[in-house]
Each structure stands twice: as C-alpha cells, then as structure tokens.
Symmetry: C2
Subunit: 387 residues, 2 copies
C-alpha cells in the first residue's frame, strides 16, 4: 500500500536546516565559519579499543552471526563496570543486553510494552529528539513536561496530578541533560522511582553523559538505587569513550521481566552488534583511567570557551557535566538573536528553540572539540562586538 | 508500567529448542554429533573485505557517527552492483538505503506504513520467522498463505480472492526460498506486481539468497522489473559474500516516496552502519568474481551431500539455489521421523514443522559447511541404516 505512517508524512520545520543552509552559503562565499552544533567528539577514541579491534581482525578469515543480546564476555564487561562504578551487582544473563548504541535501543523500547490501555510516554519539553520520534512513529500518546530555568530544567514532579501520573507508562529522564546540562540529584531520582512504584510506570534513564562531569561528585544514576525494579538504564560508549562510530552500548535493569521481554523482542529485531566491535568495546568498559583523563580534558575545553563567553556577558547554565554550554544573554532575548550573533562572529550554534519552544532565549554550543578548535572559538567570541 | 506487549508474553513452542537440548545431551555423553541447522557460512568471508577493513582501521584514531542512511560511497557501490547485475539504474540519493543486515530492515519496514485501515501483511506459511515476529510485535494483522509441494512451495496467487487482495498491505516473498529453495519465475513476479498495482500493496522481496544458484539462469529479482514502483527489495551481503558477522545490506526501491519515508523513519532509529564496515563492504558489492567462485563451491558441497541422500532414498526438493536441502523420505512420513533418523546418524537437522505446520513431512539440512564437513555429513548419511 502507499499509505504511510502519518507521523512520517508531517512536514516538520527544522530550524537547524535553515541555519545549515546559511552556514553552507557563507562557506561557499569563502567565509571562515565553524560548526558548533554536532555532539560528536573530535578527540581520539580510547586507543585500547582501536588496538584491540586491530588484534581481533588481524587473524580473522570470517565472522559469524553475533549473539543478538550481546556476547557473554561483552555482558560480563558491563557487569564489571557496573560493580566498579555503582557497586551494583548486575547478572549478565538476566539484567543486561547489548545495543548498537543507545539510539536504536531508545527508539524501540516502548514496543516491548502494552499501550492498549491508553498509557502515555512522559517526555521533558527539551529533549533528545528520538524520545518523541519513537513515540510518534509507534503512535503512542505523549505528555510533554515543561522545563524552565526556574525549575533547573528538570520536570516539576509536584505539578503532575495523581490522575496524570496514572496515565504514565514510561518516563524519559536524561541526566546529565542534553541540551541544558541539568543534573538530577539523589532526591529527585528517589522521588521519581517512588512515583514509578506507586503509579506503575518505568523510568527510562538515558545516562549517556553520566561519566562526563566536572564537579567533585559523579552525577546520580538510576543504578545508585540497587533495590528498585522501576528503572531501565541506557548507557553508551559514544561519549564516555569517544566511540560514536562504533555503535555500542548497554541496556540495564534489575527488573528481570523487562530484560526478558526486551531480549525476546530484540532477538527478532536483528540488532546484534558485530562480534569484533563487542570484543574491542570490552576494553572501554573495563577501563576507568581514560574517563578520568577525558574529564580533565573537557574541563579545560569548557573553561577556555566559558571565560570568553563571560567576557561578552553571556550567562551559562549548569555546565558541570556533558559537553554542551546552554547560554543566554541579557541583551539577546531570543534564540535567533543569540544564533545571529554567533553567525556574525563566524560560528554556527544550535538555537534553543530547535529542541522545543521552552528553549526560547537560549542556545547550545558544543565543546567536544580539539583544544585548538576551543582556542579558536574563544578568540572568535572575544573578538566580536559585545552584544 | 509492567504490562508487556502481548505477543512477547506468548510462551511459544520452539521445536528446535527440544532438539538442541537433545544435541547438547548427546555431546555431553561424549557422542559425536554435528549441527546442520544454522545458515551461517563456515567458509571464509570475501577476503578483500577483511583486507579493506584492516586498511581502513590501520591509520584511524577515531570514527564519527555514520550517515544513518548509508555513506554516499557505499550507496554508489550498491548502484554499480545493481547496474551490473540487473541493468537497472538506481539513484543512490533517492532509491537505496543501507541497513545493518536485512534482518533489522525487514523487522521495521511495516512501521513506515499506515495500518489504521485494517490492512494485512501476507506471509507464506513456511517463512523466515522475522516476517511474522515483526507483524505480531507491531500488532498488524497477518494472512498466512499456505505452501505445498504440489504448488512448488510458492503461494497460490489464484486462490486469493479480490476481497482478500484488497486487504493486502505488504506481501512477503522470499525467492530463492528459505527453507524450501523454491524459486519464483518471471511470470510469477509479473503477476504479483500487477496485483500489487491493482490492489495497492507493496511487494517486499527478500532476496538474500539470490546470488547463490546452481542452474544456468540467475533467479528472477523484483529488480528485473525496472518500471515497477511496487517492490521493495532487501539484499544482504551475509550470504552473498559470507559476511553474516558484518551486518550489512541494502534496501532498494524505484518508489522514491517509499525510500523517502523509510529514510525519515530510519534516521531516528539509529540503524546507521559503522563507517569502517560500510567502506569494507563496498569491496563486496563491487566484485562479482567471488560470487562465481562461491556458486561453484556450493554446487560441489550440495552434490556431495545430495548423492548420499539419494543413496538412502531421500527425496530432495528444488536445491537449485540457496544452501539448504529440503528433504523428505517415503519411509519417514513425519518431520520428527526424519529428524530422529538424522539424530541417530549423528546429525542435528531442522524439522520442517519448525517453520510452520505446512512443513510436516520435510526437514531442512544446511550445506554452508566446509568441504570436509560435507564429506563427513555424506559419510554419516551413507553409513547409517537405510530408513
């Protein structure tokens, strides 16, 4: 048939597409512009992963079908990492599954549940776009939870009525948060998991930035709640070990029934990760030193750009985790005005409105750049006319 | 919530699980048994792919996010292959998308369409299990099309009423067919594509065995119908180039609207293939010689086992394509009886009933084995008591 999923037929507005066009035009005109919109680390991947990849491939003549839910040794490496990082015991056979990066895992997880009763997926109003794209593609109702600076860019749990909570099926939380860098504390998680127990929903905790933090304390993870059976955690090596190109992550839950259902579903889905990637990726899960070094490296990059932004009067929210800066300016009251200022200074950044209308007045700048690129960005910011 | 997708909750019977248990038990008892149930080629992958993979990785310090729909050079290589193989012009920007092996592409393709009008997915009664698992997981109604030896194990298109055709949304065809090796001819495809035009459905043509054939003529592909906008073709390098472990394939259609909708959907799904795999896989699409050699190799393997089967009075259907033998025997009237005979002879094979009740009286034997393993299988067959 030629009748398509109605969601795919929507002609969406992509504010970023307009900017990219402008960017390309400026480049074509010979202007020197840098792109600060893409969260793809420019520094090296964790070298031991590439070393191991070479070793695994060197003698190989063939590779057979990978185990769809992850090889036993890959799952063991995630267990070891979880024990070391959160002092939690994860059973590799029943509490963890591999994924081809968390994007595919996030997209498909709602499909494991029963939505016939009219339950909804709760999504913060500024979010990684895949939460919404997944729900809409699967035709599952969404409840958008407003975010604001006054509320530290976390959904206000108290503003949700018992009647609303009863409709919640899955609740997406992303802490540290893209794009705002907001971090949910221990009490916030505890309250949310209590609500999940009371109203029978699952917390989907997208923690792909969790190991990039610059204060003294590691951001709270759902995995800190050893006893709860109400969370599904999504962890990725993309940011943690600069492995965006490897498509490698893990789905973890102490709810064995959830993992069992996801295993059944995912074995038919063909999302097994090539075995040579799984073998190489073990190196990343089993090493913490490179994460310590990476945090030091990002702290330096952040501070280079932060200092320049402050000189020009920009306000920067949070910035204690992840590799984004969520900026506003008293003289630039819209996202477009901020974006225009940066374009004029030779930089493409993402207007906050690209993430949702609650992003108005803000913009996102990436700093997962090389050190030299960070110095260049700082120079561009400092040398431009003050807003 | 803890209410799961009802399909996932079904406790299915896995006839093969019982056999595997028996197999493992025999192994544990020290008996020498070989496994002939898995369609994972045991010979080497196309060597230039592994060579290229090494070359791509050798200087690399990082790999960024892959392009979700396939790199331009990967899609160009599929275009070149299609022109050479089917003399068809495929536009790489609008008529082809990469996939992580065809399994994931097959699972998700129905999601791009609108099922609210009650349309059904037509599936042959003996099929690759993913067609059904996908439809059932997505809660889309199925119409099972009976297969029989009298009908050459192809769905009887004439037995389907206009009323039934009007309910058809997608029609799965797998030619050459797993498990029976049935091959649909040019007239069959032509008729099916005419029906698709008349009744507004899409033919989903799973052609992963298409380049493994042992007669003089290459099996017909939907791609032989250059003018039709009614097919979506799924092609894989898993069997063609022994690349099951690479998870690499292509979705092709001359219906640009279908490809556009699949592109939109798949970019949110996170199914981009790692760039180093795409680069290596180009070598496979751009070479035909290794396919010629592979056909010669499989023809030899087939004949080694076929001769032994015939000596024992087995009847073998088709066997002109793919790498399976679909066998029956006048003295063994059930799939279980065939399976028992093979177990007694030290071989685990798949009873036809594992693919559906229309498989009763048949069993499937793989011959994607090394030559030595084929000689061993033949010896086991010949030396066992005649049924």
């Amino acid at each position: 048939m030629t009748r398509f999923n109605p969601y795919l037929l929507e002609e969406k507005e992509y504010p970023i597409a307009v900017l990219v066009e402008r960017f390309n035009q400026m480049r074509a005109e010979g202007r020197d512009v840098v792109n600060l919109t893409i969260g793809d680390p420019q520094d090296d991947a964790f070298p031991l992963v590439i070393k191991k990849l070479k070793e695994v491939i060197a003698p190989a003549r063939r590779f057979g079908y990978p185990r769809g839910i992850g090889s036993k040794s890959y799952l063991e490496s995630v267990k070891t990492w979880a024990k070391h990082s959160y002092d939690i015991d994860i059973e590799p056979d029943t509490e963890v599954i591999s994924c081809n990066g968390t994007k595919e895992a996030i997209f498909s997880v709602p499909l494991a549940f029963d939505w016939s009763g009219g339950k909804e997926i709760f999504i913060p109003s500024l979010s990684y776009p895949v939460y919404e794209a997944s729900a809409r593609t699967l035709n599952i109702p969404i409840k958008m939870l407003p975010l604001s600076e006054a509320g530290n860019f976390l959904p206000d749990l108290d503003s949700i009525s018992p009647e609303e909570w009863r409709r919640c099926g899955l609740f997406w939380l992303n802490s540290p948060h893209n794009p705002t860098t907001a971090v949910a504390g221990k009490e916030y998680f505890a309250k949310l998991l209590e609500l999940a127990e009371k109203y029978d929903f699952m917390l989907c905790s997208d923690e792909c930035y969790n190991e990039l933090y610059y204060g003294s304390a590691k951001p709270v993870s759902a995995m800190d709640f050893h006893e709860s059976r109400r969370w599904i955690v999504f962890r990725s090596l993309s940011k943690r070990s600069h492995m965006t190109g490897f498509r490698c992550g893990a789905i973890i839950s102490k709810n064995k029934e959830v993992i069992k259902m996801l295993s059944r579903m995912r074995q038919a889905m063909g999302v097994g990760t090539p075995s040579f990637i799984q073998e190489a990726a073990r190196e990343a899960w089993l090493d913490e030193n490179h994460c310590v070094a990476m945090r030091e490296s990002y702290l330096k990059k952040r501070d280079i750009i932060l200092a320049a932004l402050k000189k020009q009067g920009f306000h920067v929210f949070g910035a204690e985790a992840g590799f984004y800066l969520w900026v506003s300016h008293p003289s630039l009251d819209t996202s477009d005005a901020i974006s225009d200022w940066f374009i004029a200074a030779g930089m493409l950044i993402t207007p906050g409105t690209a993430f949702g209308s609650d992003g108005e007045g803000f913009a996102r700048i990436v700093y997962c750049l090389t050190d030299n690129a960070c110095y260049d960005v700082a120079a561009r910011i400092e040398s431009h006319t003050t807003p």
